[in-house]
Symmetry: D2
Amino acid sequence: MADAFTWPVRVYYEDTDTGGIVFYANYLKFFERARTEWLRSGGIDQSVLAATEGIMFVVMRTAVDYHVPAKLDNELKLSVTVEKRGRASVEFLQEAWRIDSTPGTDDDAQRMPPSHTLIATGRIKVACVDQRTLRPKALPEQVRQFIEGGAAFTAV
Amino acid sequence: MADAFTWPVRVYYEDTDTGGIVFYANYLKFFERARTEWLRSGGIDQSVLAATEGIMFVVMRTAVDYHVPAKLDNELKLSVTVEKRGRASVEFLQEAWRIDSTPGTDDDAQRMPPSHTLIATGRIKVACVDQRTLRPKALPEQVRQFIEGGAAFTAV
Amino acid sequence: MADAFTWPVRVYYEDTDTGGIVFYANYLKFFERARTEWLRSGGIDQSVLAATEGIMFVVMRTAVDYHVPAKLDNELKLSVTVEKRGRASVEFLQEAWRIDSTPGTDDDAQRMPPSHTLIATGRIKVACVDQRTLRPKALPEQVRQFIEGGAAFTAV
Amino acid sequence: MADAFTWPVRVYYEDTDTGGIVFYANYLKFFERARTEWLRSGGIDQSVLAATEGIMFVVMRTAVDYHVPAKLDNELKLSVTVEKRGRASVEFLQEAWRIDSTPGTDDDAQRMPPSHTLIATGRIKVACVDQRTLRPKALPEQVRQFIEGGAAFTAV
């Protein structure tokens, strides 16, 4: 996760299920929030792309391994790394980490960097499509440049 | 609920939260499923209305009282009653009932009607709008007639 | 899908997103509804297993390929096939099919079987765990027998 | 909203529906995130209350008026104001505001405070209950003091 873009997500009641843990489908939402903010960190809003370029992103494949359950009030950190860029698709490696800061820690603890636990690992393939026909369309130049520029590898 | 249209809903993991009960926001989804199926029982599909009339329904007001929590695997019955019809809006009274059938009941029990417990009561106001401008638009004739015909008061 | 257990799911507003299609994370919910009902078809309720055996199922891995987008009002059919059974885990192959019945078809059309379109394919690995410690626990005998009995391969 | 606690919420794909707007039920989630962070601003975590006091909060009543639809990428600000505190319940007034900053504004615009549009108004009644019996239980002293201290009326 070292140099990846990361985005914080807090676990609320809405994210949990009666098993007392985060409902597994919700990690796909967390991963998407992080991808959306990663794009935004490059000045790219999907609603603007839809209005100006007539394109949108659709998810073609998701693969998630769940390592450790997260729970209510947990602080998560979601990473975004581009693994592969095609003409009209992007493949991401994303990780969900739990920030294990002890609540109510004293000053000394504050000086220690919090430890992290890997909660889930996702591989997500996203396609760029025409928003009307839903057919593949080349990534907008702005997105291509953002990825080429290695923005994904710059900590924010 | 006597003569209202009703629709069955089963509680799955996705509907619950870490409190061990159905997450309260999800009753709005259950109520909507019932309204959608009530319309469909009159031959009205919202996706068809969008394509042919250019209209859609948006929710303007919701008010829900939660009486008793529902839990995983509970069988619910959602009712739909029209309380008021305006030119471009409809107000619904909706109830969520839990069907208290004992699992593993024997033949005698089967002959007894299951008892019901009132779980939640909702009042939902829906507006008919132009799907592009989101401005109010008169209810389609087909919907008006369906409501006037008292379809909401016919058990299905 | 020939002999697999299948479960119908209707697409409601709650399932869609602003792209006009079913939000991809929701297929995980649809797949789970089907697995839950598959278990129930064998007389197994997860809430009962929790109360009597102290176990629950947690999802360890999901992999979904999205072939064609589903939309509002679509009727889907979700299949459940057991691919592998371990001591404390089960791996499922699940498919989401769209039922392509023409709305408003006449009598002749009714006699034709509706065609189907494959919407999404999922592979889901589920573990049986102690509901308190979240540690792996052998599948209950009842579940093991249900799977061995080939219930997953019996149409319902 | 002047002096109320507020919490920012961004609209993602997960929050929208095929009507192109935020799915109305999701405002209940946004309101809850704000209440949760309001409590946290007073040093109160619900997961800690559950572990130490054996209590949790359940929602007894929700009433929401939807004024203007929010859309993908909108920035919202959610307010929290305590309207009434009972022995074992709290009633909140909550508002969802859209921050109308023009994307890509120039320097002059940046110096102007962004305008706000009221999106939705909610009234939410929450009860404090024993997490096992789900019966009402007096608010923990810590919560009572936090409310009395007028924390809800302090901007954060």
